[in-house]
């Protein structure tokens, strides 16, 4: 991209010098040679303002050459009779240098300011993330400490049902906590680029299957409908990561919609990619919550609404992004949310034909 921009800068040098020369030829009958020099100077300034220093210098040199050859006597040669034109040439070159230097320093300042803004934003996200994480971690820890200490200190005085309930709660909270920690770790690795993705041919059907198995308890109170076309092509992705992306979306739907509502998982083949869609049909969120949820998904910020939900969506988005796909969310008219992400399709791998005889 940058290379192309620089090349086009030099193209503009040639163009600007050519235009100035045409203008000079048109002017020479009625205007003084000094004014023609001014036209060349204008060309140099314009290129210096818009393109690189190299392009500005190139314009100056081309302009000097053309001006000298066509308009400074003796015409048709590069020699100079009147030595004061040498000063004109020097000034053209100097203007090219000074203007492009000014432009460069303005650009540098703007870039510095932008990176400061990004740093501030990153810092803001990081502290919001830390705040939400510590909340999300502390709650299960508090429950585990309380339940397990009750068991340790007065277990023998509790009736068996209560004992069992407390122990089960420690187990459940430990599982959730472990999920949270894994998510934080994952987000960090995704954000710092430390995540190595291992692509392999994968079936979306199997990914859906294993997400449903992993989240069986959490989705138990919802009606999950799976609609995958039978001829869905294989995708070359990191199955573990995509499984997580899809799982995070499903968890999010389960968390934000009332029990017994429908969550639908669909996939559509398009010419260059596959779209995976997770929809719920319950408008259980207030408009403000909704806006926040969308912002998190669209901008990938990781503030938690509670229960690490924001983190889940941000991770989903980051995972889709490392696969060169897109993730977005839409509001479904009549209530509900559609989360969609794409995974690019690659040419299907060769598959040997097996003779039907068996």
């Amino acid at each position: 991209m940058r290379g192309r921009l620089q090349l086009s800068g030099y193209a503009w040098s040639i163009g600007a010098a050519a235009v100035a020369t045409l203008a000079g030829v048109a002017m020479q009958a009625r205007f003084d040679v000094v004014n023609i020099a001014m036209v060349y100077l204008l060309a140099v300034v314009i290129v210096a303002l818009r393109y690189s220093r190299g392009a500005a210098i190139a314009t100056a040199i081309l302009s000097i050459a053309a001006f000298d050859y066509l308009f400074v006597s003796p015409r048709g040669t590069f020699s100079v009779q009147d030595l004061q034109y040498l000063l004109t040439f020097a000034i053209m070159l100097a203007v090219a240098l000074i203007v492009s230097r000014l432009v460069e320093s303005v650009h540098r300042q703007a870039a510095a300011q932008a990176s400061l803004a990004i740093e501030a934003e990153t810092e803001r996200i990081r502290s919001a993330l830390l705040a939400s994480i510590s909340h999300d971690l502390r709650t299960p820890l508090a429950i585990m400490a309380g339940a397990s200490s009750s068991l340790a200190e007065s277990g023998d005085r509790l009736d068996p049902a209560e004992r069992h309930a407390l122990a089960a709660s420690v187990f459940r909270q430990a599982r959730d906590l472990s999920e949270q920690v894994a998510k934080v770790l994952q987000m960090t690795r995704l954000e710092t680029g430390a995540m190595r993705i291992e692509r392999d041919w994968t079936s979306l059907g199997e990914i859906v299957e294993s997400v449903l198995a992993r989240l069986r308890e959490r989705l138990a109170s919802h009606r999950v409908i799976i609609e995958l076309p039978d001829d869905l092509p294989l995708v070359r992705v990191d199955a573990t990561l995509v499984e997580q992306a899809l799982g995070n979306l499903l968890e999010n739907c389960a968390k934000h919609t009332p029990p017994d509502t429908v969550v639908r998982v669909r996939a559509q083949r398009r010419p260059d990619d596959v779209v995976v869609i997770v929809e719920d049909y319950a408008g259980g969120l207030s408009d403000a919550d909704f806006a926040r949820l969308f912002a998190k998904f669209h901008h990938g910020t990781a503030e938690g609404v509670g229960g690490g939900v924001g983190l889940g969506l941000a991770i989903c988005r980051a995972i889709v992004r490392v696969h060169e796909g897109q993730a977005w969310a839409e509001r479904i008219p009549g209530g509900g949310t559609a989360f969609r992400f794409t995974l690019p399709l690659e040419a299907a791998p060769a598959m040997p034909q097996e003779t039907a005889a068996g």
């Binding site: 187990f171 430990a174 599982r175 472990s178 894994a182 770790l185 291992e198 392999d200 041919w201 994968t202 079936s203 059907g205 199997e206 990914i207 859906v208 299957e209 294993s210 449903l212 198995a213 799976i226 995958l228 294989l234 990191d238 199955a239 573990t240 499984e243 791998p349 598959m351 097996e354 039907a356 068996g358």
Partner: protein, 231 residues
């Protein structure tokens, strides 16, 4: 069958984890031998001749994968690996080095005990000894190379049958992509995972009650497949 006095070797450096493993395995009637280091584990595996080993992958002295390799040099005893979630690669390495199954930390004891039972069942019967296998509506006759679902014959292609038979030989346990591909298509195809995706779908379509949510031909994402039979 009864494994009431089966001996289980636990190679794990974290004493608190050994404590609950000892309790859970003890309650089930297993005799437990504990080793806190990899080297100790290799020695105990030789002296105590356990029926099964549970090996943590993150040991202070030896790599868990090395422990598995050393045990495999002389013993076919089932080995179950304990691994942390971020050790995806190590998990696959351990399975390819000869471990039979894995449990990811943190795990519930129920999950571990189910794996232990499946692994011991697998060890007790000779590798080719089981000729009939039932799961869900499906019945597989390995000896006569026949399969049926809900009493009706199902036609399986030779490759489908080989794939199913490989999973059946490790019934209840995970089989890695590499191992399945090597066994069914041969070593040159060890990385052609897409073969598995396609043939597993065909098997599910033919044998599962609900192929979209298979209960028996189960995917272990990023690792392999598991045939879950009725215990």
């Amino acid at each position: 069958m009864s494994n009431a006095r089966a001996t289980v070797l636990v190679v794990e450096d974290e004493p608190e984890i050994r404590r609950f493993l000892r309790a859970a395995l003890g309650v089930e009637g297993y005799r437990v031998v504990e080793s806190a280091t990899g080297r100790r584990g290799c020695i105990d595996a030789g002296t105590h001749k356990p029926d099964l080993a549970i090996v943590d992958l993150a040991l202070p002295d030896l790599d868990g994968v090395d422990v598995i390799r050393r045990i495999r040099e002389w013993s076919p005893m089932p080995i179950i690996v304990l691994s942390a979630r971020i050790q995806e690669r190590a998990k696959i390495e351990a399975l390819d080095a000869g471990a039979d199954d894995y449990v990811t930390k943190p795990f519930g004891v129920g999950e571990l005990l189910a794996r232990v039972r499946a692994a011991l069942r697998h060890a007790v019967r000779p590798a080719s000894g089981v000729s009939r296998l039932c799961f869900g509506d499906a019945m597989i006759d390995l000896e006569h190379r026949r399969a049926s679902r809900a009493g009706e014959d199902v036609h399986l292609t030779p490759i489908e049958f080989r794939l199913l038979a490989t999973l059946a030989r490790h019934a209840g346990m995970v089989v890695t992509h590499r191992e399945l591909l090597t066994q069914v298509w041969g070593p040159p195809h060890a990385a052609d995972t897409h073969y598995l995706r396609i043939y597993m779908k065909q098997l599910r379509d033919k044998l599962e009650r609900d192929p979209v949510r298979p209960a028996h031909l189960v995917t272990e994402t990023g690792i392999g497949y598991r045939l879950v039979t009725d215990e």
